[in-house]
Assembly symmetry: C2
Homo-oligomer: 310 residues x 2
Amino acid sequence: MSASVDPASSATGATGYPEELREVVERHLETLRFPARSAGVAGLEEAMRYSLLAGGKRIRPVLALATARATGVPHEQVLPLAAAIELIHTYSLIHDDLPAMDDDDLRRGRPTCHVAYGEDVAILAGDALYAEAFHLLLRDGARAGVPADRLLAAATELADATGVDGMVGGQYLDVQGVEAGGDAAAALRTLHGLKTGRLIGASVGGVLRLAGLGDDEAAPYRRFADELGVLFQIVDDILDVTGSDADLGKPQGSDERHGKRTYVTEYGLEGARAMAARHHRAAVVSLDAAGPDAATDLRTLTDFIHTRTN
Amino acid sequence: MSASVDPASSATGATGYPEELREVVERHLETLRFPARSAGVAGLEEAMRYSLLAGGKRIRPVLALATARATGVPHEQVLPLAAAIELIHTYSLIHDDLPAMDDDDLRRGRPTCHVAYGEDVAILAGDALYAEAFHLLLRDGARAGVPADRLLAAATELADATGVDGMVGGQYLDVQGVEAGGDAAAALRTLHGLKTGRLIGASVGGVLRLAGLGDDEAAPYRRFADELGVLFQIVDDILDVTGSDADLGKPQGSDERHGKRTYVTEYGLEGARAMAARHHRAAVVSLDAAGPDAATDLRTLTDFIHTRTN
């Protein structure tokens, strides 16, 4: 579905964001239904959709779609991966917000999943989103004609990026807390490299697998994704200090309230801004190396992430 | 690894359980390491291994290995799937035991994961086990030479069996509680069919996918797995009433304490025993239909599940 987008187009909205790709993602997510034998399971699906359809920029799936455009992967072949990534991102937010973790009541301006549906249902909604992410990716990817070996490679990368050496490992480091001291900055890079960087990396890397790119062709895209992941997190830390509650969809200053070490606590606001500018430049240089096809949407997205206000 | 087991052998231990297959599983699980970039993540791996290596009969992976023997799938090709299934089973136990769910302190005679490591780490250990299950299955399955299309089909079935229309959906029905009334028995069958039955089904069905069996050849094995899943749950409910704490590794009567409806509350102890005998017979008839190769280990396992004491 939704293969009607002109691959040559790169229209951006007034916000400087590839809105057209975001709308493709949004429409696709709205069509998803999670098959249930039993009517009794409808409440679980409701909790999943409550969190999944809470809006947001959909940066990861938009990044996947933009990478697909740059590497010639057809829309219908990348959508299952893009959706799976957003399901996994949503699951991670639900679990991160739980009372036993960050204990946040508000997310994107609405009560968090456990506030709305209870802690037990929120845990299960996260678990189910994760399972359905792989289910969608594998089933719909095969139906869309992705060759089996490429689909396997993409799914393997996604599983790795979300496990011990990825997103969940990063959240573990986050709940353990980064100690102050000489290695605090390195520990912070590791934490965010796992917690945030690897899923952003898989949003690009998974598509490179679908495209069947060799290591040499893929390398500049992978460097780009690494730089983008760091840039994203630095800007996130800056916004937690400078953004308004309305911009953030959650109370400003939540990192400080949780006593978290961030790029701002480590390097100061101006230091963090200078770092962001360096990583933005490095990301753009990597895109240049990837070739002219990579320029439009990925460049737009990179600029947006550097300057985004929510 | 562990491909040294003689496929023709079907030695059973003194317990009437295919101990040789259990030992293959146990050795394989002990060798698993979850790759981590950061030494800081070692505590997460420790919590995962604490729950994964807590012993138990390993019924699901043993079932997978026995099905592989019956259908000619080489040992090294089925081990990644068998391990993935046990990782997923372990994750489901960790999340089921959480304070927000069943709030159980004891599992297999030891403190549950959240008692030993804290609620936040337990949630993440479960999440990470699920991710690493797919990571192992996809990566090691490919390395073991499983054709890509068969590996995809097995992984798709496993994801489906553990999502909304599977294990997590069943746990959702469980925390919602089954209402008394005319449809209570049907609701109970649906609940356990999802919560327990589908992962047992995937322990057989995933192997049928690896074997590349057509629907007609697979059908008797699938009927067998359906009957075995129901048998397993009925016996589990009976044991919760009749077993000792030591046998169960948890306090006897926990279903009753949680106010859960079970096959015993619905049909009485004798009624439940009669049902178990019927489903045992139906499972054996299905095995007969699957052919002589299916008889040995799968029959042993079926008899064990019918008469098991822990």
